[in-house]
Amino acid sequence: MFEQLDALLLARIQFAFTVSFHFIFPAFSIGLASYLAVLEGLWLKTGKQLYLDLFKYWLKIFAIAFAMGVVSGIVMSYQFGTNWSVFSDIAGPVIGPLMAYEVLTAFFLEAGFLGVMLFGMNKVGKKLHFAATLMVATGTFISAFWILSVNSWMQTPVGYEIGANGQYLPGESWWDIVFNPSFPYRLVHTVIAAYLTTAFVVGGVGAWHLLKDKANLHARKMFSMAMWMAAIVAPIQIFAGDMHGLNTLEHQPQKVMAMEGHFESHPDGAPLILFGIPNSEEKRVDYAIEIPKASSLILKHDLDAPLAGLDTIPDDEEPPVGIVFWSFRIMVGIGFAMLGIGAWSLFARFRKKLYEWPMLHRAALVMAPSGFVAVIAGWITTEVGRQPYVIYNLLRTADAASPLDAPAIAASLLAFVVVYFAVFGAGVWYILHLMHKPPHAGEYGVKRGDTGPIRTAGITPGPSQNPGDPDTLPSNHEEATDGR
């Protein structure tokens, strides 16, 4: 029995570790792919070299982030089977097809056009290249669509039947399954989060270079674009998050109870606990700083509305309160800090000092990685808040694991930890190295060492080391002469 528990905990840690590490990269590449599409679109529209330079600057970073996202993502697609085989067997008929759709409509699209996006500008011409960039950006969004549908179904399962063999089977309508109750909220909240994450990375890099040289036009442009995103999107995100919270209250009340730290029911208006230390043993929040009735106001839009607490939930169905309580506050705190930066930037812009205020730039620099922290904290909130279930109210996490012994999982977990920190640590280091270099006019694209990008045989040698240089576009289109 004890052995089982150990294996289960290890499997959970392994999944949490690999999925958290993985999600850092898509959180960045979903936003960055769109940013690249915007930059290339602006370049095509205005013809300004500045946009092309920025495009190439961020393309190099995108290439690394995307590669890390791909290799860590393949791990995820197999881990359902390796570590959660009972879950895979039982839920496969419902969520398997959604994941198959993700592969068919998103992964192939991204991967198929990525090569052209990275290396093909002087082979296919500007417009087709832009189309490839758009396809990659679209692919990242479609991927988010399907995987969030899967996750949302696990949070708010509907539209299923239970088969004679114990499997969950799809019901009449796939529409109900795909567009399950929490999906639209989670999709909006997560995709905006990816955009904000990227905006703060771009803004942070811009700020870093402005601090060194406030005349750098490239740094100015990226900082300005990022701050517009922060100013406009951070408030939208807070609103979307609030909507998502209300949806959670409706469908997964104990998750909200844990987020709020409400161990007890409040029949006439629940307080909003700003800070405190949840004490699950004693079922109370120690040292709580509260705003009376504010939680009822936020969640029910009524100061005196009653709110049930965890005392209404059987102990064996409660999520771990401490983790959810804290991760939720970290996410929300960062959200409001982002809002603050956005407002500050608007004020600076209004005073025509956007590029002049080092304090703003320093703050933006500090906030550069904040999106990643917020995104991971948000996922911890929603995933831990669903416990002890893996499929809410249907399948317990403890009943979903593979029949593996603890030492096997311990060994694989150790291998993942070592490899991920080494490999992705190196990748992040390379990205930081690229970000450290100031963006400049005549920026190089994704360069391939001494060899240059691969070329079609038989064409006249041209300056293809710097794809997209106006002099070399559009490229040669002579037929290959290698005898095919």
Partner: protein, 335 residues
């Protein structure tokens, strides 16, 4: 036979197609990784890498379709095979991590390029070996009780699985070498052709070894290959394989372009067909048939619509991406 049966067969072929597409497409990527240490540092390695840099990611996606498709269409098989081969799958995934990032990292960090080149080779080798051994573990049979893997820790490690693992490594090396014959020229092409010949012999010997072993492995397999009337259906596979093998060895001596690659592909195709003859109708021998493991009809139909719409598009734009990067990989240093 009701509708469900036919859909299940269709899905078995779709998964087989995805696996085949993965094996041959990522096969040459992994093969180049396996052969990488034998290439000269500098231009030869750079060109070998650049010949696959724009396409490896798309190639690897077929592995996700193979795995994801298995999960969706045969969830029980997915839930049994992966725990049964747990260490192999984890090793493959970690190998693919090293292999995948090496594509980017080696250009970012010339000072440590040889380490990332080593990671590229190590990752490719581990992934190839693990894939081959997983196939072997599947063919030799997986013990299933109550919809769950019931074997022990090291069932996947036998002389047979080592043989299938080595066969896969050799086969991938053959694909990689013949791809490079196509994409390179000059001295490097000569080098690739030499490697291709060795890899071809190794592949043929190991393929033959695995085939013979199969006959002794399982009475049912033997019956399928050696008794009438099955033998009339099965016999063309080894005969055609032998024909392709002879053509391949000849082509490796004379052809300067794509012919050895296409013949290697044909070799894999007949290997896959042989596999189909051996396993059919089991998805997890000896106990689970494709019908035992199949997803319900509603799941199959829903996905089939998706496949019918997207697969032609996927094949279309994948072919386009290959077309964009067609031709020999030139060495810019010479111009």
């Amino acid at each position: 036979m009701d509708v469900n049966v036919d859909l299940t067969v269709i899905w078995a072929f779709i998964i087989a197609f995805a696996v085949f597409a993965y094996v041959v497409m990522d096969g040459f990527d992994l093969g180049i990784g396996i052969l990488f240490p034998t290439f000269d540092v500098g231009s030869e390695r750079d060109r070998a890498m650049n010949s696959i840099a724009p396409v490896w990611d798309g190639n690897e996606t077929w592995l996700v379709l193979g795995g994801g498709g298995l999960f969706a269409a045969f969830p029980l098989a997915y839930a049994v095979i992966l725990p049964a081969t747990y260490p192999l799958i984890i090793a493959m995934l970690l190998g693919l991590v090293f292999r995948g990032v090496a594509f980017e990292y080696r250009w970012r960090d010339p000072g440590h390029r040889r380490y990332w080149d080593a990671a590229f080779t190590g990752g490719s080798l581990v992934a190839a070996m693990a894939q081959g051994m997983t196939l072997g573990a599947l063919l030799q049979g997986i013990e299933v009780v109550d919809r769950s893997y019931a074997g022990s820790w090291f069932d996947w490690l036998t002389p047979y699985t080592l043989l299938t693992g080595l066969g896969t490594v050799a086969g991938y090396a053959l694909l990689g070498a013949t791809w490079l014959v196509w994409k390179l020229d000059g001295v490097s092409q000569h080098h690739a052709r030499k490697l291709g010949k060795r890899a071809a012999w190794a592949t043929l010997v190991l393929m033959g070894g695995v085939s013979l072993y199969n006959v002794f492995l399982n009475a049912e397999y033997a019956e399928r290959w050696l008794t009438a009337p099955e033998i009339y259906f099965a016999a063309p596979v080894p005969i055609l394989t032998a024909v392709v093998a002879v053509m391949l060895l000849r082509a490796l001596s004379v052809d300067r372009h794509s012919k050895p690659f296409w013949l290697s592909l044909a070799l894999f195709f007949f290997g896959m067909a042989g596999l189909g003859v051996t396993m059919w109708p089991y998805v997890v021998p000896p106990g689970l048939t494709i019908w035992d493991a199949a997803a319900p009809e509603r799941s199959q139909i829903f996905m089939l619509v998706g496949v019918a719409i997207t697969m032609p598009l996927i094949i279309g734009y994948t072919a386009w991406a290959y077309w964009v990067f067609r031709g020999k990989v030139a060495d810019e240093g010479y111009h």
